[in-house]
Symmetry: C2
Subunit: 187 residues, 2 copies
């Protein structure tokens, strides 16, 4: 197979879905990865979970059905952008295997590359980081339905990449995703 040219890899869209528990590092990695992609001339879009809930999914709560619908809508937007040559980074929990599989299938149906990255910091580490204070609130009884604690997180069985972020620097995590993009002819 011929090596793709710099031009080819820059104009090829793809979705990189960063799935994992709250505070596992999804958004941090997406930010750092986006910077590197932009630096190298890739059009890049982060689909931030909170912004998506506000502008695309304000009707949805956190039931199983609503979480699945949330993922499918974001997946649809990712698909549109990826087919237009954008590197789309999606740091969104996506707790259910079925909705993740559906998003992957729909990307395949429109020939948009799709990479599932499991951001796999253990629950104990995430609960200590607790970036948004969610674990503390749940422990204090102020919140329920927290993914990984009292709501399901179905661990990806065969992601394209599993990042043990508690053992990696941010740079190390980005390097690992980058290596995957290169391997797939996308960077």
């Amino acid at each position: 197979m011929p090596t793709p040219s710099d031009e080819d890899v820059r104009v090829s869209g793809a979705t990189v879905w960063l799935t994992g528990l709250p505070s596992s590092g999804k958004s941090t990695i997406a930010q750092a990865l986006a910077e590197r992609l932009v630096d190298r001339g890739h059009r890049t879009q982060i689909l931030d979970g909170d912004e998506m809930r506000q502008r695309l999914c304000a009707d949805l709560g956190f039931s199983k059905e609503d979480r699945q619908t949330n993922v499918l809508r974001i997946g649809f937007v990712a698909e549109l952008l990826a087919t237009q040559g954008v590197k789309v980074l999606v740091p969104v929990i996506a707790p259910y295997a079925m909705s993740r599989a559906t998003v992957r299938e729909r990307h395949a149906a429109c020939a948009a590359p799709y990479l599932e990255v499991h951001v796999a910091a253990p629950l104990e580490v995430c609960a200590v980081r607790d970036v948004k204070g969610l674990y503390a609130k749940q422990a204090a009884g102020l919140l329920s339905g927290l993914t990984g604690v009292d709501d399901p997180y179905e661990v990806p069985e065969s992601p394209d990449l599993r990042l043990h972020t508690h053992e990696l620097t941010i740079e190390g995590s980005v390097d690992a995703v980058w290596a995957l993009l290169v391997e797939r002819g996308l960077a």
Copy 2:
């Protein structure tokens, strides 16, 4: 002001919202315009109203509030694509001035060019064309809330372009939108 190069105009994103009554010609013009844009090397995306309702807005009906939410969600997706250099064509009724204005403002806030094209075939003409059979169903009492008949359509007061599609060929309509794109440095 220097003339934009071919490369500039091709990589500049923009949203062209085609607002108008059912059967006014929105989708037909969007299709023909998309073909011309693709021919000239522009990345182009049509956000089809029916597909958006299915994949992004399945929860929404046709109340005033739901119609506005529908337009805002589609507007958000258009904005994401337009800021990534895509020509986004949106053949969606968008009956309320307020939601159209909001979409325009949000595009302005992220510096994405936004053009409102009023596809202005008169109601009598649209009702005869009746591409989807909606006018007939409404007349037969099988459907209510049809825009322009028993549901409001707020005519755009100052669109970027008003197309009297009943007096124009498809080609003529596309030429008029194209001229506007050229005038704005977008084609």
